[in-house]
Symmetry: C2
Subunit: 359 residues, 2 copies
DNA sequence: CTGTTAGCGCCTTCAA
DNA sequence: TTGAAGGCGCTAACAG
């Protein structure tokens, strides 16, 4: 065991120990060329004895294949993304690819570095959740020009011909707002994330559609443009909610981080939901230090978004899919919980407190 | 632009375009050997024009350095781990290393595959959160024998001489239980995760210590051995909590996933916390479909665990740290919220509902 | 079926 | 300061 210590054994040493040629060892490992039972045994034994691990670096250099996919997400600590990654990883593993995940922290600069890194690592395809920052058209299209397959997910850039997978933003948001309307709310405020993101614009469109259909008037004062920062969103809400006379019946948030900010805002100005104000949001929330009644949410199929995106990417890589960009849109689900219900129900119905109806 | 399309440009093409030797291009890129201003310009221009990205594969093969670290965690969707990863990634980036993260899903088999994969990828060091499965001594010690630096975090294996970073398990758990005692609870049930994990055993030890100090009797019936599966834990709780005569005043859970199971258990048997039963848990929770009062938790310094672990790993890699394994233990923090308070306070004090005291 | 050999793209001597 | 050449470990093609 001592000899195998520091210096990693190479295929040559395995060959020497097994008393075969390096080619044979390679054949055993890759399985691409049949090898006699006898030699296979000898080779396997040598591999085990030396604790040999084939050098993927060298293999990749030779084959110019890395069997690796890259995924760039804004922030791993936003609970939506780990699920996406899990989906993508599963799809990749099924085809014996591995996945390397990195965070852009929504910085365009960092995103560019990461893209460059992934290209240097020679990943065979890239899954990208674009950073919420402007000016990425050329960065993205350069990837395509370099012949590296890419699929954009969740946040799909505008006007760039690229494969994409995301939720049906408009329909999902519409569903959320329609639910609030159905619960009897009339003055509904919409709070969005950065309008630079196309999906935020789509979601807002869906919200407006719901209001229009219900013949509620589209009051400009009831559309609040927030961002993804909890504290800023909380402050914004506080300010808008201060005056009881103009206060909305309900608030709908078009994404999770913003939604969390809204809840903080409610807390900060002493409003309870659903008693004082109803609430629903896009995305499940991670809540670690906010007191919460259960929150009605529009749930994205996060795992599937990741899985399907990786699936498309792999199909491109393996040339099983050719031609025009595909734009896959997956439906969302509405989980009705307490924040959107009337207060009376909540107080009376203790069972429902724990087992809210789900549509 | 067309020529740079499919086939990735190599250093040779850059050299040709810049009319210099390949060595010069390499010198410009690595910066290890000074190059005249004039040639630097020409080279940079060529790199930009060709959209050239140095091939890390080839570089690694040549230098036998990958500047890459690997981290194996049980499950990225457990909110504790993304924070750990973030910490580790930050430390790595500071030294210009990159980090590749993979999930073992607590399977010993998968963990072994991943370890093998990382070795094949020639990562220069490994951060390991050991899978909650037995028989890994040899797997782990083989890494050390191969001369690959490794740091175990969070779940530190028993009796293996390896660098490790985790929270002060016993002290942290003790703090949690002492808090419950201070809040006036006398019959306190402890529910643990798999006892195969050393940190679970340590936490249990801390809990017992707290009970002993308070001269509360250590009732075997009040120590429940659960696991990390929400449904099984919920079922276990339901069973133990059914009989009001033997029901504890409070429950302390030694980890997050188990804690979430306990909350489901409360829900399933119609118990409210803190009104009917007090509760506190190790770890912040991700709660997506459970109604929740805010939960008192023992918070681990997740980011720092990752950061410090990577720091130690890098020091080993760069030989700045030698000798015996270091065992770093970081203190936890107690976040007092509602689940551990008396019901009276909760109802009366509406402000505290939103801004609980924090010790 | 087995053994031999030529590079994959890059970095690092070393000589000029 | 610059250029030329060798080889990192592996696989794929080919010859035996």
């Amino acid at each position: 065991m001592q000899r195998s210590a520091a210096a990693k054994p190479t295929i040559k040493e395995v060959a020497r120990l097994a008393k075969v040629a390096v080619g044979t060892v390679s054949n055993v490992i890759t399985g691409s060329v049949p090898v006699s039972e006898e030699l296979q045994q000898r080779v396997s034994a040598a591999i085990r004895k030396l604790d040999y691990h084939p050098n993927h670096i060298a293999r990749s250099l030779k084959t110019s294949k890395t069997r690796t996919l890259g995924i760039i997400v804004p922030d791993l600590t936003i609970s939506f993304y780990p699920q996406v990654i899990r989906g993508a990883e599963t799809a990749a593993r099924q085809r014996k690819y591995s996945l390397i995940a990195v965070n852009s922290y929504d910085s365009a600069e960092r995103q560019e570095e990461l893209l460059s890194l992934l290209r240097s690592e020679r990943v065979e395809g890239i899954l990208l959740v674009a950073a919420a920052a402007p000016a990425q058209h050329d960065v993205i299209s350069r990837i395509a020009e370099a012949g590296i397959p890419m699929v954009c997910l969740d946040r799909v850039p505008d006007k760039i011909p690229v494969d994409s997978v995301c939720v049906e933003d408009a329909a999902a948001a519409q569903m959320g707002v329609e639910h609030l309307i159905r619960m009897g709310n009339r003055r509904i405020a919409i709070i969005t994330g950065p309008m630079a993101l196309k999906n935020e614009r789509e979601r807002l469109r869906g919200c407006k559609q719901a209001l229009r259909r219900a013949k509620l008037k589209l009051d400009g004062d009831m559309i609040w443009h927030g961002d993804l920062n909890r504290d800023r969103v909380a402050a914004l809400c506080c300010e808008r909610l201060r005056n009881p006379a103009t206060r909305p019946d309900a608030v709908f948030s078009t994404n999770g981080p913003t939604g969390l900010g809204v809840l903080c805002g409610f807390r900060d100005c002493g409003l309870r939901t659903p008693e004082d104000i109803r609430f629903a949001t896009f995305d499940e929330l991670v809540v670690e230090d906010v007191f919460l009644p259960s929150i009605t949410t529009v749930v994205q199929p996060a795992y599937n978004i990741g899985f399907r995106a990786a699936d498309i990417l792999l199909a491109r890589i393996e040339k099983k899919l050719r031609g025009k960009p595909v734009a896959l849109r997956l439906p969302a689900t509405l989980k009705v919980r307490h924040s959107s219900q009337s207060a009376v129900e909540l107080v009376v119905d203790n069972a429902a407190r724990f087992e809210p109806a789900v549509i």
